[in-house]
Amino acid sequence: MRNNRKSYVITGICLAIVLVLGYLLVINIGSPVGRPLTTLSPRGDKSQAIQNLIVPVFAIAGVVFILVEIGLVFVATRFRRRPDEVDGEGEPVQLHGNTKLELGWTIAPALLLAVLAVFNVNTILQMDDATDPLEVTVIGQQWWWEYRYDLDNDGAPDIITATEAAIPVGRDVRFKIQSNDVIHSFWIPALSGKMDAVPGRTHQVILQANEVGMFQGQCTEYCGLSHGLMRMQVKALTPEDYQIWLTAMTTSPAQPDPKNELAVQGQTLFVAQCSYCHQIDGVTPTSKSPYPYNTVPDPDYGKTVAITMASGNAPNLTHIMMRQHFVGGLLDLYEEGGSVAQAIPEGTPNTNNIKRWLRNPQDVKPMDPNNNQGMPNYNLSEAQIEQLTAYLLTLK
């Protein structure tokens, strides 16, 4: 058991290597680069508050972990039975316990936890603080998210969109979270913790973005078939850009240019095939739905926006090209990708993605339309897909 200087040096070097590797690993784990959903890189004040609470806890837990594991290895090696030891000679002292010691290691962690509990309570109370919040209603549905903005507080939403919400940087936002079917969970890790969307209830998440950005989110309560693909985005814009976004979103898109024949044909097709579920402001469905979501058509469908019928059964597409993502955030609407938040997206529309979806939606996102869950495959012809795509591109 005698150590010479050399073995100390070797142990020291090994320890140093382990520490450096461990440090690099921790740095790497915490890095947000290439990890759009990481919880370790807060970009909002609530997520920062959570981070401030938990990082010291991680540190303490890490220290306890290292102490216990080192202690375990030490005890196991120090008191291992050696080959020259014989039963009956120099047997261990039969210690049955030590009440003081045991009380000590019962009370000490309890005290430590009691101290941490104070910070815990403090942070819990802090999570619901909000001053003059912007209110956005979020409705979870299988398997996409709808957002409603009631700008004039008259009870009727003025903006209805899906998948991608816009918020101004530096202002508290209260997301009022509801569900249309099963339990979902709304979660933008960079901005705040998650909150379940439970049918029949309204919950809230309050958050504030500290910087401009496109923040990724993910449904985190198992909600059936395509739960894993139920994503959403929150884009935080400067207050000026946010105003631009609001203006664009509250202005109905122009009717397709008559010269754009494809788009005009696409509109006709849309009204016949799609408008029963997908609302577009100013478009009235003419036919009965080929698909048994609503048995009785709403007479005012598309003329006014009313809460009872606002979303229909599928995302409102009035301003689809104002979004940078569609299909629950799975696919980009623009060639340039959707990682940079823009008030009004610029760039080349990614028509391949749109066509891919129209060709067979279930190929992109598994759904069960026979059980009223998600979009059926209409087996559109390529010509029809071209027409619909041309029409959708005008919806900005």
């Binding site: 005890v75 120099g90 049955h96 339990i183 029949g200 198992y222 894993g228 693909l229």
Partner: protein
């Protein structure tokens, strides 16, 4: 050996005419079973040891089933965008994996040990109600097979093991998978309840003379806590499952918000059961480790009262923390505060256990046998699970962590690193007692190290994945999400775990073959161990104790072998051979085997199929259940004509009345009671000195 029936408990306990319980005249195949060997002896047995072994074998089979499901999960997630499983199939596989591992592996494997060992550790000849013990096994097994048969009958459950409403309602899950979940768990719950009542009574009533509660081995204590938890927890899940069944099959709306129900009701009911369930799964393994570490450290367990007390504390506090599964459910700030605080402090008794195990090893003389390696592995790995548990007791942090892989990592460190590693250690430790030969030590070490490495490779990276935002229960992910590397590592780890299980199977097979070629009996006490089960020959004889020992101290058997000198050092005071039991039983009376538990249990899945598919199928099920109950009631607990197949059986005059009157038996009392046993002990040479 001479096994002699000297009592007919029914005669003296029911107070009826002694002639009344005479067996109904044998009706062909329904004649009282007598087989003592062969497969029949297993089917009709009421012996707690055979029942324990059957629990073990069946739970190991389901471990392989659940393991294959786990491998499918890991294969699907090994690379982004994998198409191996469809979303629907993946959802079934992870649900079935979870339910199988919880209800068909961890719980019954713990039951295997509890059934086998509790009577031995408390110095009893069997459990209080042997036929009920058989019933609980058969009902559980029938439920488990019923549940898994859903794979062949339209697909497995796909609502997650937590099965939240309203996704689990017929509107959103119209398939039959969730019906199998609801009814399968109801059936298994009946089995577990029967077993829990039985073992609770056994611990309270059947202890050997002198064994006070605070002289019971820690394993028995932890299992006692578990059984009491089960008695109270199972009714909650039973109610929830019944409501779910009513919702799904009869159009009730307990959990359907659109009809005025409340999905929160399910969440609360499920977790009021679900959280104690965590301790139900992990405490038995804690008990095993508390037996193994002292034996191989050659020191008594450090702080026995603290070990027992912390186990009880965990059991109690476990009822006040359930809503920490719901921090993100929107239940309100006050609830979050309360449950966040209570959850923080449940870490304390668990921490006490870890430190006491280490203190037990401290100053000992540690032998690194395979069971000891698994036990040290549990201490090290459970520490990780416990600490990550503390990090999500902080509710705001939990809203970032919950439903991510961080949670998956956490509970696998608790249930695999805790429960399963402990039970693997238990298998190696008690194998010679159960089967009369050792498992291979060298192979066992391979098993341990492969499992430890595979386990950490599989579940360690999940901490990182979770903190980086990978959600649970997702059938796929895309490369831009940055989850690819650690998922691949995790999948590799899963296959190393699979390899380690193959090594274990090989170990079982080859050690048995070696034993068959060259039988070497390990003797009663192969490990120089401490508790009563090591006093009796290996494998355990059918009657357990020829003479029921009279207990004076905690670790009674150890104290018969060792004392200590003035410095507190260990001194041998008696040879092991002189202390262990060698005499043939003088007066042993064993419960008689019976078909009826099996008949009764077989009816249950038939009723289940009837409820799901066509009520006519339930008719034979109900007939079987009624017939089982009828046959059981009409059958005397002890076969008046039975000799258990022992040739040397002969009737003897009844024991003196005093013995009989002392028997605290109820009508169900089916076997020799502690009093009958103690008669043997008193008449025999009761002590070793």
């Amino acid at each position: 050996m001479a096994i002699i029936e000297d009592q007919r408990p029914l005669e003296l306990t029911t107070g009826h005419d002694p002639v009344a319980p005479e067996a109904p005249s044998p009706l062909g195949v329904f004649a009282r079973p007598k087989a003592n060997t062969g497969w029949r002896s297993w089917v009709n047995t009421v012996d707690h040891k055979k029942i324990g072994i059957m629990y073990g074998v069946a739970s190991f089979f389901f471990l392989l089933v659940g393991g294959v499901e786990a491998l499918l999960i890991r294969l699907q997630l090994s690379v982004p965008g994998n198409q191996l499983l469809s979303a629907d199939l993946y959802n079934q596989v992870f649900t079935m994996h979870g339910v199988t591992m919880v209800f068909m592996v961890i719980m019954p494997m713990a039951s295997a040990f509890a059934n086998y060992l509790i009577p031995l550790q408390i110095g009893a000849r069997d459990v209080s109600f042997p036929r009920m013990n058989a019933l609980s096994l058969w009902i559980w097994l029938a439920g488990a097979i019923f549940f898994n048969s859903s794979w062949l009958l339209g697909g497995g459950a796909n609502g997650g093991w937590f099965n939240y409403a309203p996704n689990a309602g017929v509107t959103f899950s119209p398939g039959t998978g969730i019906d199998f979940y609801a009814i399968g768990l109801l059936i298994m719950g009946i089995g577990s309840t029967v077993s829990a009542v039985n073992l609770t009574v056994t611990v309270l009533n059947m202890r050997a003379p002198g064994m006070t509660l605070m002289k019971m081995p820690v394993f028995t204590w932890m299992n006692f806590v578990v059984q009491v938890l089960l008695v109270f927890a199972l009714p909650v899940i039973t109610v929830a499952l019944l409501l779910l069944t009513l919702d799904r099959m009869f159009g009730a709306a307990f959990f359907d918000a659109s009809k005025g129900g409340d999905p929160f009701l399910w969440e609360h009911l499920f977790w009021i059961f679900g959280h104690p369930e965590v301790y139900i799964m992990v405490l038995p393994a804690f008990g095993m480790v508390s037996e193994i570490i002292p034996v191989f450290s050659r020191k008594p367990i450090f702080g026995y009262p603290f070990m027992v007390g912390s186990g009880i504390a965990i059991g109690f506090m476990g009822w006040g923390v359930w809503a920490h599964h719901m921090f993100a459910s929107g239940m309100g700030q006050l609830s979050v505060l309360a449950f966040s605080l209570s959850t923080l402090f449940i870490a304390v008794p668990t921490g006490v256990k870890i430190l006491n195990w280490m203190a037990t090893m401290y100053g000992g003389r540690i032998k690194f046998t395979v069971p000891m390696l698994f036990s040290i592995g549990l201490v090290g790995m459970f520490t990780i699970g416990g600490l990550s548990g503390v990090t999500h007791a902080f509710a705001p942090a939990d809203t970032q962590q919950t439903d991510t892989y961080y949670i998956v990592a956490h509970f696998h460190y608790v249930l695999f690193g805790g429960a399963l590693l402990g039970m693997m250690g238990g298998l190696y430790f008690w194998w010679p007692k159960m089967f009369g030969h050792f498992l291979g030590e060298r192979t066992g070490k391979w098993h341990f190290w492969l499992m430890l490495v595979g386990f950490n490779l599989t579940f360690g990276p999940m901490h990182i994945l979770g903190l980086q935002g990978m959600m649970r229960r997702t059938f796929t992910y895309t490369s831009v999400q940055g989850f690819s590397m650690w998922n691949l590592v995790s999948t590799i780890g899963a296959f190393i775990i699979a390899l380690s299980l193959l090594v274990f199977i090989g170990n079982v097979f080859f050690s048995y073959r070696k034993h068959r070629k060259n039988p070497v009996n390990p003797g009663a006490d192969p490990w120089d161990a401490r508790s009563l089960e090591w006093m009796i020959p290996s494998p355990t004889p059918e009657y357990n104790f020829a003479e029921i020992p009279v207990v004076e101290e905690f670790d009674e058997f150890w104290h018969r072998k060792y004392g200590h000198d003035e410095n507190g050092r260990l001194v041998r005071i008696a040879k092991t051979e002189d202390v262990v039991e060698s005499s043939d039983p003088v007066t042993v009376h064993l419960p008689s085997p019976s078909y009826w538990p099996l008949v009764l249990a077989l009816g249950m899945p038939l009723v289940g199929y009837g409820l799901i598919f066509n009520l006519w199928w339930a008719v034979p099920g109900v007939i079987l259940i009624v017939a089982g109950i009828y046959g059981w009631v009409m059958e005397p607990a002890t076969d008046p004509d039975g000799g258990h197949g022992h040739d040397d059986h002969h009737d003897e005059p009844d024991e003196p009345d005093a013995t009989e009157l002392a028997a605290p038996e109820t009508a169900e009392a089916e076997l020799v009671s502690a009093s009958a046993g103690s008669t043997g002990a008193i008449t025999g040479e009761g002590d070793s000195q």
